[in-house]
Symmetry: C2
Subunit: 235 residues, 2 copies
DNA sequence: ATTGCAAAAAGTGTCGACAAAAAATCTGCG
DNA sequence: CGCAGATTTTTTGTCGACACTTTTTGCAAT
C-alpha cells in the first residue's frame, strides 16, 4: 500500500521508510553493516538519496556511523534498552501530563471505546500478547496527539518510533504482562478523563517503568526469541 | 581557525557544524530559505554533503522542508518555544533524577566549584546576563553527562542543542533572572549532593519552568529584539 | 494599469563517476 | 602451517551533470 509512486514524495523519503522497515523486520540485524551499494541496488535507487536516509536514521540513533567505515545498525544492549525506556518515561510522562490539560471529551470517549473493544476481544480469545502489542503503539500515539505539542509528538512518533520498535523485539511479552498493561492503560485514561495532570503523568511513568522491569526480567531469563545469552552486561 | 583540512572529519560533518553556526549566529534568520547552491558556494563544497547536513538539521527540527520547495529555518513562534521548554522540562528533569543516582563526589565538587567561581565573579562585576547565559549551558551539559545515559545526553547536547540555542535568542534575560537562575542552580546541586532523585528532578523542572515563564513574560512585554506582541495566549 | 498567461531562470531531486580509504585476497616468508 | 606484507577489490565521500518543478520575469490582452 506504500508502493505506489507518489510524485509528492521523494525517493529519499521512501528510502527512509523502506530502510526503517528492513531494520524493523530484522533483515538487517543489530550490528549488521549497512552497505550503500547493496541497498541502493536492492531499492533500485542511487546512493545519494539512500545516504540522506541513512543520515536521518543516524540522527535517530538507529544507525551508528564512523567516518570512512560506514554505518551499522545499532546494537541495543540491555543497558541501552533500559536507557531508552528512561527517556520514554520522561517524554511520555510529560505527554500524559499535557494531554490531561488539553484532551477533549470526544478523545476521552475514543480511548474508552478502544479499551472496551480490546476488553471484549480479549474476553473472547484471551489476552494475546500480539493484540496488546499492536494496540499499545496506537494507544501511546493517540495520547501523544492529545498533548497538542508538536515536539513531543514528533519525538515519540518519528524520532524514537524506530528505536522503540527495536526495543520491543527485546521484550518477550508474557500473557500476564498483557493484562497488566491493559489495566495500566485504564488508569491512564481515567486520569486523563479527570483532567488530572499529576495523576496522568504518574500513571504513564509507572506504566513504562513496569514495561522496563518486565524487559529486564526477560533479558535475565532468556527464552524464545533473540536471546543473546552471552555476557551478563557488566556496565 | 576552522579552515584546516582535518582528515578525520568529513566535509558533510563540518558542513553540519558550519551551517549550525550560521543559523545560531542569525545570519540565516528564522523563516529564511536555505539555498543549496548559495550555501554550497559559500562553504566551497558541493551540494551532496551539504544536503546530508541539511537533512540532519531537519531531523533536529532546526530546518523544515517541503518536497521540491526546499528547506527553511524553523520559525519559533512563542507557542513553539513554550512547547520546546516543555520537552526540556521532561528530559532535563529525568536527567537530574538519573544524575542524582549516579553522580560522583568529584563531580559534585566540580559543580560546587563552578558555582563558587560564578558567585565570586558576580560579586565583582554583578550578575551579568552574558555570564549567566554562557555558564548556564555548561551547567546543564555537565549534569547531563552525570546521568550516564547516552540517549539523554545525545538528546540534550546534540539533537536539541541548536533548537535550545535558537530559543535563547527569544529569552530577553534580565539581571534579576540571572540571579534567580544562580539560586536555582544551587538548589539543583544541593539535591544532587544529597543523592535525592525526587528533589533533583523537581528542582530542575522548576528551574526550567521559571525560564519558560520569564520567556513568556518577555514576549508579552517586548523590549529590545524580536518581540512579537500579538496575542496573549488563551490556553 | 492590472490581470492572466507564457517563457525563462533558478532550484531541487537524482544519477553516474572518480579519488581515496578500508577491507579482502593473494603471496611469500618464517 | 601460520602470519606479515603487498596487491586487488570493495566501499565511502565527494563532485559535476541532468531532468523536472517551482518561481520569476516578460508580454499581451482586457
Amino acid at each position: 500500500m506504500l508502493d505506489e509512486l507518489d510524485d509528492s514524495t521523494t525517493v529519499a523519503d521512501s528510502a527512509l521508510a523502506r530502510l526503517t522497515q528492513v531494520i524493523l523486520d530484522g533483515e538487517l540485524k543489530p550490528g549488521a553493516k549497512v552497505s550503500e551499494p547493496e541497498l541502493a541496488r536492492r531499492f533500485g535507487i542511487s546512493r545519494a538519496p539512500l545516504r540522506e536516509a541513512i543520515r536521518r536514521l543516524e540522527e535517530r540513533s538507529v544507525l551508528t556511523r564512523a567516518p570512512r567505515l560506514g554505518a551499522r545498525v545499532v546494537v541495543l544492549s540491555p543497558a541501552k534498552v533500559e536507557q531508552i525506556f528512561v527517556v520514554r518515561e520522561a517524554v511520555e510522562g510529560m505527554i500524559a501530563r499535557e494531554a490531561a490539560k488539553l484532551i477533549t471529551d470526544a478523545e476521552v470517549a475514543q480511548l474508552r471505546e478502544s479499551l472496551a473493544r480490546q476488553k471484549a476481544r480479549s474476553e473472547e480469545i484471551g489476552f494475546s500478547t500480539f493484540l496488546t502489542r499492536e494496540l499499545d503503539s496506537d494507544f501511546h500515539t493517540f495520547i501523544a496527539q492529545c498533548s497538542r505539542n508538536e515536539f513531543l509528538i514528533k519525538f515519540l512518533c518519528e524520532d524514537y518510533a524506530t528505536l522503540i520498535g527495536l526495543c520491543r523485539k527485546h521484550l518477550r511479552q508474557v500473557p500476564e504482562r498483557a493484562y497488566r498493561a491493559f489495566v495500566e492503560h485504564g488508569r491512564i485514561v481515567d486520569a486523563l478523563a479527570d483532567r488530572d495532570p499529576d495523576m496522568a503523568e504518574l500513571a504513564m511513568r509507572r506504566h513504562i517503568q513496569a514495561s522496563r522491569q518486565m524487559m529486564v526480567a526477560s533479558v535475565q531469563d532468556p527464552g524464545s526469541e533473540g536471546g543473546r545469552r552471552r555476557r551478563r552486561g557488566t556496565n
